[in-house]
Symmetry: C2
Subunit: 349 residues, 2 copies
Amino acid sequence: MIKTKILIMAGGVGSRFWPQSTEQRPKQFIDVLGVGKSLLQMTVERFVREYSLEDIYILTNRCYFELVEEQLPQLPSSNIFIEPSRNNTAPCIAYASFKIFAEDRDSVMVVVPSDHLILKEEEYLDSVKAAINFAFTREAILTLGITPTRPETGYGYIRYSSSMSEEVLKVNEFLEKPKLELAKAYLASGKYLWNAGMFIWRSSTIIEALKIHAPDIYEIFSAGAGLYNSEDEKEYINLNYEKCPNISIDYAVLEKADNVYTIKADIGWSDLGTWGSLSQVLPKDANGNAGNLSNVILVDSRDNLVRVQDNKKVLVRGLNDYIVVDTSYALLIYPKKHEQEIRVHANLG
Amino acid sequence: MIKTKILIMAGGVGSRFWPQSTEQRPKQFIDVLGVGKSLLQMTVERFVREYSLEDIYILTNRCYFELVEEQLPQLPSSNIFIEPSRNNTAPCIAYASFKIFAEDRDSVMVVVPSDHLILKEEEYLDSVKAAINFAFTREAILTLGITPTRPETGYGYIRYSSSMSEEVLKVNEFLEKPKLELAKAYLASGKYLWNAGMFIWRSSTIIEALKIHAPDIYEIFSAGAGLYNSEDEKEYINLNYEKCPNISIDYAVLEKADNVYTIKADIGWSDLGTWGSLSQVLPKDANGNAGNLSNVILVDSRDNLVRVQDNKKVLVRGLNDYIVVDTSYALLIYPKKHEQEIRVHANLG
């Protein structure tokens, strides 16, 4: 049996769902879907169906350690890996990889975000399993590629070339978020997938790839090789982690390596990156309104997303295509079509 | 010197400013103007400039006794007159009149609402003083008549005939809220004033008027004549008050009596009866927005009234002519032009 470690990245600081999410409580820690669980809790539950909680790890910033413990009380504290500073995903994944490798040299790692939605969980776990099987026997860097369903301009794309097996495709290129015309061409060609930022590889494979493509990061973590999972690890990491460059794993490794593969996955995925994308996946009332509507009276109002405090009575009239979010500290009333400007107007930087 | 008693009626249950006002805390007890004082506190302060607090009385429902004590800690508790049931203004004023008469048979009463705005306080106090002087020496029922400044359809009107003196006019008729065309005719004729519900009379005069025009009410209170301001008053009132018919002082007395007079008063008055009338008297920003805007960011938004919790950050875009009210228990986002329907939609009955 392949020793598998699930690594859930939960250090992000995104406040795109302001005012529901904030720097103190970013998106992964909030119940954006209104189902009674945070996105992090949903991500963990998704894996617990097939993997032991002992093999699930949370990578997060020190600011969020207590939030993780609070939301995942069953998780062993030693399974929370703390990044002492924010240096993007490459250092964070490198650190976790050295720890996992030190524990088990044959382990396969599954690295996933904590704040995405996956509607087809069985298909997802099947795709992950296929990726694990492929990665275990090869020096392969695998990423899940989501079958596109629309010419989305908000996602990065993966171009693939030849098939390696029935499921696995060789990656040719990673592409930035396209303009609409280009996104349409990608969709029509059938040779492009959405990059969902989910990775599968042996811990030894990614460490080798870091050595070649990101030697500065590799040096920092390999110099501490004898210390991982020991009492001395923390001091070393606190001293050295922040010396890492600020760089994503995509830029540092995936765009440079030539052993990158993808598995086509049709898993009902959304990165829930915008209020608009959240709207798309939420159930609607007869007038297209979504959100927690049980105490909300909507008159002459269509296609709004309303997320309010459960104990409040809300009366709205004559709003169409708006985002209405009410929390204890803030109130947002904003047209959906301008949602990209919320951050600027709310002075969130 | 004329012994004057100021009676402030603060028993109303209006929730027209929902969700800022509620049945638990009606309009007179809230700071609708955002000045740090409730309308009741402002009403008392207006009179304290010329009258002793010992001569100021609050008429209220038993539900609001504690609110009155809390908002007016300097006021003697015995100056709070409690109506044990809601029977409109005639029984409430009758009860107060018998108590005041029992204390001082020569006293003049000034009866005013607790939830109106008066911008010109000196002119107001001068008008009240003129009315007191007139009422003291005659069997006269006096009401202040506000010089109309627009063809308002939300107020009742007073038609006057001849002048009694430089200031005092004989009242010919009280008129219901008119349609717009009629309101324009009233305004053009110069013979009509707004009825502000402020009355001045000797306590003996109103008791005599009740005896003639509202004998059922008169009987109830005159039967307890020996008990007022004694230990036995409360029991008698608790037993008998609710037997009174539910009727306003206007219907019960003023529309029937022939000794009714008015004093023309230009005092910057508003009954603050609607969000719209509140909007008219509040200061505006450059885009016509009013309210407590210090933590409110308004983008592409004009002519709104925004009243939010002080500790909340608010971001609004693309709203024009709306009422936005946020409290700890409710949120209202509603077009000003439909404000009459707020009560229906909020299921306030």
